[in-house]
Amino acid sequence: MLLIPCPWCGPREDDEFTFGGEADFPRPAEPEALTDEQWADYLFMRDNRRGRHREQWCHTAGCRRWFIVERDTVTNEILGAGTYGGSP
């Protein structure tokens, strides 16, 4: 069981959350300007780093906010959390 630090509600058990994949893959401003390969990169390719990993979580059963968690994928240690705007 992973305790996930919701920036708003504090640490809660992981079954209150939904995982949203790796963070920092913003939607391209002009998709039509991209080549097929560039679009496929955005769509399918993720770094899946060993070690520090920034990822998106949503506190589904709580405040319904999406936020960013930094987690070590080797030790599962959670190194920090941040919001997409605003501060608790």
């Binding site: 809660r12 209150e16 059963a61 405040c63 319904r64």
Partner: protein
């Protein structure tokens, strides 16, 4: 709405003119007014307008509530609140809020029929809830006035600490209510809680 139309609460309470009486340690508080409010907490003018309508400030600290005469404002998210009013007149409250928020970016939505309140009160309240709620509800961390959205058994629930009895109000979405009530009754069995017939159906 014509007053002759019977309303049915999720747990089967039927309301014609007056609410059923509340007696027991586990019972439904049906037909309250539930209004979902969204606005930018940085819009202080809008918050002041709300204050004038509600008589209470919107809580800005996560997982806290503010309580006025017959209304509690409950923090749900950084830009989201639940207004829980003791009376069943959602129409006037919504109209007043909408008038006060004219010109502001905000959302006021009536969800009164979409959820209900189940009250659990008495010395074994926390023991009953601990059977299915992972949160620490000890009064040192969850004092009266605190609230939390979480999971209760396998349903989402909003918990409000009401008083030191302890009393906890559990707000559940309508379709999950029969499940949550059955689960609570089953938990309460071990503690001999009093359940009035209306809530036991």
């Amino acid at each position: 709405m014509s007053s002759s139309v019977p309303r049915r609460s999720p747990l089967g309470a039927v309301q014609f003119a007056e609410s059923p009486s509340h007696d027991g340690e586990l019972f439904e508080r049906p037909f309250l007014t539930h209004v979902n409010l969204r606005l930018d907490p940085g819009d202080t003018e809008a918050r002041s307008a709300i204050h004038r309508v509600l008589g209470v400030q919107l809580p800005l600290t996560p997982n806290t509530t503010t309580t006025g005469d017959d209304l509690t404002a409950i923090w749900l998210g950084p830009d989201e609140w639940l207004l829980l009013a003791e009376h069943g007149q959602s129409g006037t409250l919504i109209a007043d809020l909408q008038a006060a928020l004219a010109g502001h970016v905000a959302s006021v939505v009536d969800i009164s029929a979409g959820q209900t309140v189940i009250r659990l009160s008495g010395p074994s309240t926390l023991d009953v809830l601990a059977r299915g709620c992972a949160l620490d509800l000890h009064s040192s961390v969850f004092p009266p006035g605190a609230c939390a959205q979480t999971l209760l058994a396998r349903a989402q629930a909003l918990l409000l600490a009401v008083d030191d009895t302890p009393t906890i109000d559990i707000i559940v979405r309508r379709s999950f209510t029969p499940y949550v009530a059955a689960w609570l009754e089953d938990s309460a069995r071990d503690f001999g809680l009093r359940i009035p017939p209306a809530a036991a159906s």
